[in-house]
């Protein structure tokens, strides 16, 4: 028993130290990046004929509410040479028809090779209007997952750099220039992937597919996720990128080297955690091929996405994320503590395994045990309250650090009352951790008892924020 108690003690202690360590590491890396970035001019790369062409891949399933605005935003991105491939993944609504009517699409005799297996491509549509000459709409049978849709696009896209996005995200106008920068400047190692910061769209004012006014979400749940996202992107991924242990490029927006992606077989269609799985697969492939590579991360906001604002949608999303995490870790267990994979095998993978997968389970277990102690009257209340106060104060300390990061980096929420609101949210946040732990446990149970793969659906309001 004492062994178990000691294990829990050290587990908690290590988590706390790791979070503080990652935070400190991120602070230093972020400071350096921001300082250097203030001298960078992205306009040159956006307009230069020397900039490499890019293919943007936007899968769409039943997106009739937002698809036209999204495509128009994509076509208006500030970059000289890119194509947009929209994949209609067997939508049962009017997505394809709307695209056809708005952009005057016609079915073409497009020849392609199924380099990566995917569901049948029924047709490739292009516009007769020259203004939309860089738009390709691919119509295919539903493959049951976003991964299959991206694989289909990989078979027809022509450029060496691809950007995968969620078609309902709002992309920052200079996101392509920012994402392409690491691919243009790295010389010793091949850059195989780059990701950036995803911001929360809820309550922002959007006009013609562009953000007109950034607002802190009015509802509590999305506001809570502002803290969560900022913490994950600025404290977590920034540090892991510099430690060469980055395992995830968000599906909302990421840039990849097409050749590497095709060589390692594209996205996995048998699972649900395609975002993480594809990064792990590409990294593993490069190591196995003895090739020097990097996966990089830019601490700049690249796109805005709507997050769940009700508990049911949040539960669906988080359950799916947990299942995706387990699925991705499962497929690459070979990397676990394997020195061949360097820092990723020795640090990144074990961190995700122990602290992302196991930690919520431990938390849930602790909660149940505490309830049991409370019910049986055998709890040491003074000690319990002290520990709770410690964890609570640590949690709000970490959140206030996050707010500071937000302030010195993006500074997107301009009103003073927004900062105060974020602080107040951070005071409530620790009490809801158990809710997220419950979603994680639910994901574990669903995964253990064999749930099927599917596109996750989050309730959206079609761009009316």
């Amino acid at each position: 028993m004492s062994l178990l108690i000691n294990f829990i003690f050290f587990f908690t202690l290590i988590i706390l130290i790791l979070y503080v360590g990652l935070g400190l590491f991120s602070s230093l890396a972020l400071r350096k990046y921001l300082h250097k970035n203030s001298y960078v001019n992205y306009t040159d790369v956006a307009i230069s004929p020397l900039s490499p062409p890019i293919s943007i891949i936007a899968p769409a399933l039943n997106e009739e509410k937002s698809i036209i605005k999204s495509v128009k935003t994509l076509l208006a991105l500030r970059y000289s040479n890119f194509e947009v491939i929209v994949i209609n993944d067997g939508s049962s609504d009017n997505t394809l028809q709307l695209l056809k009517d708005t952009f005057q699409l016609q079915k073409t005799h497009y020849f392609f090779d199924y380099k990566i297996p995917c569901e049948k491509i029924k047709g490739v549509w292009k516009s007769v209007d020259k203004r939309f000459s860089n738009l390709i709409v691919l119509d295919k049978n539903n493959g049951g997952c976003k991964a299959d849709a991206i694989n289909a696009a990989l078979n027809i896209c022509r450029n060496d750099l691809i950007v995968t996005i969620d078609s309902d995200s709002i992309i920052e106008p200079d996101a392509l220039s920012k994402l392409v920068k690491p691919f243009l400047e790295e010389k010793k190692k091949k850059v195989i992937g780059a990701g950036g910061v995803i911001r929360i769209l809820n309550s922002c004012v959007v006009e013609d597919g562009k953000i007109k006014e950034v607002n802190l979400p009015k509802k509590f749940l999305p506001r809570l996720q502002v803290l969560e996202y900022t913490r994950a992107f600025l404290l977590g991924r920034m540090a892991w990128s510099h430690l060469d242990g980055l395992m995830l490029i968000s599906g909302a927006m990421g840039m990849f080297d097409k050749k590497t992606m095709i060589d390692c077989g594209g996205y996995d269609t048998t699972g649900i955690g395609e975002d993480m799985e594809v990064v792990l697969k590409m990294r593993r492939y490069m190591v196995d091929q003895n090739k020097k590579y990097i996966v990089t991360y830019i601490p700049d906001p690249l796109c805005w996405t709507e997050v769940p604002s009700d508990l049911k949608s949040l539960q669906t999303q988080r359950t799916r994320w947990t299942m995706g995490l387990i699925d991705s870790l499962e497929k690459h267990t070979k990397m676990f503590l394997n020195p061949k994979y360097g820092k990723l095998g020795l640090l990144g993978y074990p961190f995700w395994f122990i602290f992302e997968w196991l930690a919520p389970l431990m938390a849930m277990m602790g909660m149940l045990y505490t309830i049991y102690l409370g019910v049986t009257g055998s709890i040491n209340w003074s000690f319990f309250l002290l520990l709770t106060a410690f964890i609570y104060s640590f949690s709000i300390f970490l959140s206030s650090w996050t707010v500071l990061f937000e302030e010195i980096t993006f500074h997107k929420y301009r009103r003073k009352r927004d900062v105060v609101k974020l602080f107040l949210t951070s005071l409530v946040e620790p009490f809801l951790y158990i809710l997220f732990a419950y979603f994680a446990v639910r994901g574990n149970i669903k995964y253990a008892f064999g749930d099927n793969k599917h596109w996750g659906t989050v309730k959206r309001n079609g761009g009316k924020h």
Binding site: M1, S2, L4, I5, N6, F9, H35, K36, Y39, N41, D44, I47, S48, P49, L50, P52, Q106, T108, H109, Y110, F111, F112, K126, S127, V128, K181, L184, E185, E186, I326, L329, E330, T333, L358, L361, M364, M365, T376, I379, N380, F383, L386, L387, A389, F390, S393, F394, I396, F397, S400, V403, L404, E407, V419, F423, N444, I445, Y447, A448, G450
Partner: protein
Amino acid sequence: MKKLSLFILAFLIITLISFYFQSNAESINQSLWLKEFTVLGESFKLVDILFVSIVSFISVMIVLLIIILLNRAKMEREKKIKDNLLVKYQDLLLKYLEKEDNVNESLEFIKLASSRFKRQLLITEISDLALNLPEKPLQKIQKLYFDLKLDRDTFRKLRGPWYKKIQGIKELYALNIAKKNKSLYKWVNSKNDLLRMEAQIALVDLSKEHPESNPFEFLGKLKVPFSLWEQITLHQVMVQRDIRIPDFSQWLDSKNDTVVMFCLRMIKEYKQTENYQKIQTATSHKNENVRRLAYQVLGDLKLASSLKQIRGAFKTETHDNRVEIIRGMRKASDLSLIPFLRKVIDNEESAEILVEAVRAIADTGEAGKEILNKMLQSEYKDYNIIIKHVLDHRII
């Protein structure tokens, strides 16, 4: 892993049950939190650290909130001062440029730029203005810059850390001050990519002051890789700042592969076809990427005779380079290449090469289209699908 997942869930449930059967008060007493430690004669329990930590965390949080709010107030105040000062500077600068006698304005500038912050703001304003001025007003603004002894601030920056150096270099080329070019050469091989890039831009831009010098002389001295990012930035300077364009083939034999690639790109951009033999030599470069770019340039410059001569390389090249050879032939759109292209179609399996070869034939004009129409009737291979794809005008 599903088994592993089940195992972990089972482990957690068993752990929970085992807790159930244990005495809890005892468990807590066994905790490390309550163990006593002695350090430097002082004994304490870990639980004591909890108290200190709680107070510290809450204090830090309150301090952070205050810092953020104070910082906001400071930023707003600074912005207000900056905006006010900028309006005054812009107004004065316009008056200064309009009038012949500027004694009053000069005195006014001296009065306004009383602190280092205010002087820096004036330097930035003058630099931004100078970048877009024709020669005569530029000379006038340069005079003001020297009269106010702002050059001292710029030169001091060149001795500072990298970011100050960058600021100083930007000011140098905005105001066309070429007397620090020797220092700039020191930095073209700097480990700091931003400093390196600014030094390169400054050297190219300031060459306007010395018509006898070669603006790209630094290319011969470049030992570090010349990244595509740097190349793009420099090319934009060339486009926007009316730089004399040299014959880029002079660096095609550079030992720095990235310099060779930059020169090939510039040869293509400025259509420097005179030294096509040197470009052709680059097609036998040891670096695969240089060769690929050379094929591309031969195609873009429509140097069909050179492309014809490198047909032999097609067999031995990598897949990507073979695609580029055929793509080059397509851009050259030369009838004499058709027999070779047909042979490629007959022997190739790669869909990418097939499409490019068919497209190359189509792009030769009516004769090519006639050949494709004949091939359309053939059942051999996937000709029909590929030719229909190529002839579909909607697919670019």
